[in-house]
Structures are given as C-alpha cells and as structure tokens.
C-alpha cells in the first residue's frame, strides 16, 4: 500500500440538486432513486419506510440513504459475484438513493424486492449507507427482516452485535392495504443508537 486515502467530508446540506435532483424537483437528473424494482423485477415487492433521528430524537430532514442488495435469487449485480447458480435479474440493479427532505415527516421510502439469501448461513439483508450534514464520514449499517427470525438467529454478523442492540438492525414487517412494508428507523445516538459497521 503506497497511497493514502482521500479523507471523507460531510455531504453537507445542499446535496439534493447534485445527488437526488429529481426527487427534490430540480431540473437535473439522478442516477438512482427509491424506485429500485420495476414490473419485470423478480421477487416479493416490499416498501421500506423509515426516519433518521439525531441525539435529541429530532427527525433529520437532510439525510441521504443509499441501499445495496442482492436480487431475489441472492445474487449481486456485480462482476465479483459470478455465481451462475444464482441467476442475475436484468430488471434489478440493486441500488437505491433517497433523501429525507421531500416528505412532511422526513421519512425515506424505497420500493424494492426482498433479497434472497446471498451466502449460506446468512440471513437476507440490505446494506445501508447513510450520509448527512454533520456526519463527516458515511456510516454503514444493515437492514434485516423481522419475519426471518430463525435465519437472523444464525446470521454471523448479527451474532457479532451485542444482543441488546440487534433490534436496531431489524426492520419490522407490516402487511398493509398497499402492500408489504418494512419499518426501519435509524437513530444516530441515544439508547436506541443504530449499530454501524466497520469493514
């Protein structure tokens, strides 16, 4: 290793017209939105809804959340995942990006599919990357699913987390009249501080 990493800096309060322009109704385009699945995508349609809270429990209205996940067969749409036994889904890239500044309650919403199990022994999960003003380095967490209790109990990453904090990583499933919704709130600090990972 010869070169040193370029330092990270906050995304700042004004990322919206650079990174999430269409969501915020700016004239520019954006590469990824919260609409991660289309009519052709294979898998169970789910909606992910949540809010981000600061150390005083206040909703954060200028956070940006990115999701990265496997498809319904558990395959990542990336050359490093070359497992032919799990088919790629041409209708699913697996990446989404949403800011919390366009809903009255500062919630984020993703419309996606529930990922398959990506590797034996794991529970299904979605990688979450969080950015905001006041956050000098993006933070990585994971979203697991409340209806996968038996797989969650065996998941090696969940088992690295102290038991009392595991709940912060579990999105709760609700069957609603408009489809399956998972609730996933993110707490930056406080008694329910979300577990963030280093890898």
């Amino acid at each position: 290793m010869s070169l040193k990493q370029t330092p990270s800096q906050t995304v700042g309060p004004y990322f919206a017209y650079g990174l999430t322009a269409q969501q915020y109704h700016y004239p520019q385009t954006q590469v990824a939105t919260g609409a991660m699945a289309n009519d052709e995508t294979l898998g169970e349609r789910i909606r992910i809804l949540g809010q981000v809270f600061d150390g005083q429990g206040q909703r954060i209205n200028d956070a940006m959340i990115e999701l990265w996940q496997a498809n319904a067969a558990g395959r990542f749409n990336h050359p490093v995942d070359a497992r032919e036994s799990r088919p790629l889904d041409p209708a699913f890239k697996g990446f989404g990006r949403v800011g919390t500044g366009t809903t009255p309650d500062n919630s984020f919403r993703f419309d996606t599919i529930k990922p398959g199990v990506a590797q034996d022994g794991q529970a299904p999960f979605i990688s979450v990357i969080l950015f905001m003003r006041g956050l000098p380095n993006h933070a990585y967490t994971r979203l697991y699913f409340s209806d996968e209790a038996s797989l969650n109990a065996e998941d090696p990453v969940l088992n690295k987390v102290e038991a009392a904090r595991r709940d912060t990583l579990i999105a709760t499933r609700h069957e609603t009249s408009t489809g399956v919704e998972y609730r996933f709130d993110i707490h930056m600090q406080g008694p329910h501080e979300t577990v963030f990972f280093n890898f």
Binding site: K4, Y17, P27, F76, S127
Partner: protein, 232 residues
C-alpha cells in the same frame, strides 16, 4: 478471495468533532462493530456512460438558459486511484457546488447572494481506463454558514464516488490552494493534519487551457478493493 483495506481512520475526521457543531448530535457515538467483508461489501453499483448526458461534464454549459454563467471558468482533472496506485477505471464521479457568488441552487440556501440563471452547479463524469476524469465549471465562491459567528466555508466542490464496491464509496470536498479560509474551517480542520492537505487541489498551468480556463488537478485515492470473482 479478496483483499479489502480498512477505512484508514487516521485519514478521516472523528464522527464527533465538536468544533463542527452539527456533529455533536449527529455523529455516531458508539464504537463501530467490526465485520469481515463479504460479497455484499465487495460488490456495489456500477454506472457507466449510460447515465451521462452530453453536457454533464461541463457545468459552464449544462445550466445555460440565455448566456454564459458568471465567474471564473476552471477545468478540474485528476486521477482516481486505489491505495495500491491502481487506476479506478470507469467509475462515476458526481460533483455539485455553489456558484461564483457562493450561492447554491438548493432551495434551502438562504444566503443573500445572487443566483445565476445560467448555472445549476451539478454534473457528473466517468473516469477512463487510466482512472482520469475531467470536468469544466465555474470557480465556486465562499459562503457563510451558521456554525459560529462570522463562519465562512472555503471555496469547495463536493465530490461523490463509488469505486469498485460499496466499501470504496467516498463523499468528499475539493478545496483550492492558498485559500485563507481553510485555516478557519471546522469541516476541513476536522480531518487530521497530514491528511486534510490531500483535499486541496493543485493549480496546474499544464491543465490550464489557454485563453479559456484555469486548470486544477485533484487526484483521489479510494480504499483498495481487490476481489477475485466468486464462482459456484
């Protein structure tokens, strides 16, 4: 199967850097949980030429309505490398910034400086096979912010990059050489000395385009991700 270098925390700010006030209630306060990278961390989204519009790399043109934007034209170029010095090819570079007067198009920016009807201030480009990128823009102005009395952000351009996987994801800011506000800026200063200087671009007469735009070089180093494909 792979090597993934860790985030080099000596090169990054502490999550809670009290001089930068909004970190106090927003920064991660408990220890990060160390995990071994798996396929989910060694993969990530790839965007290519399909997301590039013809003017996305030229912020001096992509917001024009009825004329040229105000301010000093500049060209910013550089290489995106990993820690081993290998070029990060075909990776997306997204940028956004204030206009020459220090005003963002963003609706929440209430700074009493003029908007420029011919400047939007965001764009994107792709690195080539050698990891090189280049875009044209207007030198952004400094702007005040509420962190402390008489606080001003130095001139800067926001950058967002993906690299090889979600592990190499980076959002940073590029600063300009010789800016007196750097020594007073808690966001810049939150990064340890010795590392923060890597965020300052170099002026380059070679990149400068005669009669048109001053040139700056900003090289970016992402975490090293060296993964061999996983097969069945």
């Amino acid at each position: 199967m792979s090597t993934l270098t860790k985030r080099d925390w000596a090169s990054h700010a502490a999550y809670i850097s009290p001089e930068y006030k909004s970190t106090v209630l927003r920064g991660v306060s408990r220890n990060l949980v160390d995990i071994d990278p798996e396929l989910s961390e060694l993969t990530g989204p790839a965007y290519g030429a399909e997301v590039l519009g013809p003017l996305d790399h030229d912020l001096t043109k992509n917001g024009q309505v009825n004329g040229e934007p105000q301010g000093e034209r500049i060209v910013v170029s550089g290489r995106v490398l990993d820690e081993n010095g290998n070029p990060v090819a075909n990776t997306l570079v997204e940028v956004w910034q204030a206009n020459a007067a220090g005003r963002y198009v963003h609706k929440a920016d209430q700074h009493d400086a003029p908007l420029d009807p011919n400047f939007l201030g965001s764009g994107r480009c792709l690195t080539d096979a050698n990891g090189c990128y280049r875009f044209y823009t207007i030198k952004p102005g400094a702007y005040p912010w509420g962190n402390h009395p008489n606080a001003w952000r130095p001139n800067h351009i926001h950058f967002s990059l993906f690299g090889a996987s979600i592990a190499s994801r980076l959002v940073t800011q590029m600063y300009f050489p010789g800016d007196p506000l750097l020594a007073l800026d808690p966001i810049y200063l939150s990064v340890p000395q010795g590392a923060r200087e890597r965020m300052i671009a170099d002026f380059s007469i070679d990149v400068t385009e005669e009669g048109f735009a001053l040139g700056y070089i900003f090289d970016i180093v992402l975490r090293g991700v060296n993964a061999t494909p996983m097969e069945d």
